[in-house]
Symmetry: D2
Subunit: 145 residues, 4 copies
């Protein structure tokens, strides 16, 4: 199947580039899925919402591991988002999303990230690390720092 899919790509693309392409896909899928989820300022809720999206992203092609944290949202206006009243909750925005996804395509391993960058006022997706392996790959135990 993977070989069949390769036929659709520009012939000049190589395995490293294909791994980079797949990393972009997964980061964007995670981000777009997470946006707009109702959340409150309770750690267990944030962990459960993030874990549901992790489980979903783990189904996608070439995904080795997914780390995903929804940060406690910044409180604004009169609400603390801790359900003091029925309307006291909020929705996931780009500022709350912190993710790290490990992609393997052939012998190339990418560490892709999403992180709110204050200097850019923007939820940047980027490739933090590119690694090449020679032998069977064991997913890393390293977590986001």
């Amino acid at each position: 199947m993977e070989k069949l899919a390769e036929d659709y790509f520009d012939k000049s693309i190589n395995a490293r580039e294909h791994a980079i392409f797949e990393t972009g896909i997964k980061l964007a899928t995670l981000f777009q899925m997470a946006l707009g989820h109702p959340i409150k300022n309770m750690q267990s809720t944030l962990v459960r919402v993030a874990d549901g999206i992790k489980a979903s992203i783990e189904c996608q092609p070439f995904v080795k591991s997914v780390d995903f944290i929804i940060k406690k949202p910044n409180t604004t206006g009169s609400q603390k988002f801790d359900k003091e009243n029925e309307f006291d909750y909020t929705f996931v925005t780009g500022q709350d999303i912190r993710a790290q996804i490990e992609i393997q395509y052939e012998k190339w391993i990418m560490i892709g990230c999403i992180e709110w960058i204050s200097d850019l006022d923007y939820p940047l997706m980027y490739i933090k690390e590119i690694n090449q392996i020679e032998k069977r790959y064991e997913p890393s135990d390293e977590k986001m720092d």
Copy 2:
């Protein structure tokens, strides 16, 4: 806050009707959030994805409890959606969603459901039960049958 919100409603609406309105909102939110999640045919994945959305819906106003099952998707074509190869997974559709949400507004309790109805070829949202309580309400332990 809840009283403040009531000012925006047509004056003829009563508490029972308000409870019905809120039930429609929650069912549609759950449904729209669930659609399109990548999934595979592994029970633990389906449970984690469903639990993330449950945790999110539980943040919304007047929600007492949420039951939500993503059913194993129907296999079609050449794939079984069990990740035999990298592309062998699928996406949540209306056929896979089975949910039951308990809403309380004042003394009115609604049991709202989403269920794929084969006779309609349609993921129907409906109000299964309307109940009225006189005293403080304890969420039911009953699960979907």
Copy 3:
């Protein structure tokens, strides 16, 4: 089909209540779909994004008309969201959504709204008007005020 669907509802529900239920569903669907759309501060973009979601909501049961405006997002931080640079855009949030949906179920007409309420710091969904008709209904030409 509509009669078949009714069998699933609690027998005590009446047509007015059913109309209210459907109004909740449509408002929540529109809201959940709109959240997270990339947008910039250009009127033509905001109109096109809103129109796509309107076209989608118009497909749903019992919808007579949909009015939907995505307001120019509040600028924050260093960005104006007018694409002065590549990252200078934002995403639809609850503060930007203003919608009015007309639902007809049997002889009942509901005007349902979504509006950011500053006093609540919340994107409130509410039923603005409940009307009853005796004869064939002509969709109103009235727009949101």
Copy 4:
């Protein structure tokens, strides 16, 4: 801003690879946004829904042009999705999505596509063409074939 963002990337990544990464992001964003939109079998509806998403994707970084068609959905069961009755509509799935996005990062132009591939039973995202320009780039008038 673009230079600031580059600092977050692995130092070994080059402009061509960066263009490939951005292409993956945009294709996945479009796909994830489109999934689950209510639609019916009317060309004007499908065009409006697609145009709303196009307008949104056009806001994202490095996007030169977006072509996006929602195909008439396959009818299944008893429904034709032409609103013969209130429930006779459906939701966008991967089978209905056909998109082509042109990305420019520095002098690299990518043509990225989403297309349902029957042999894979899968909505494949791929890079169809990689081009390099020497001078100011004019967006192509070519449409999807």
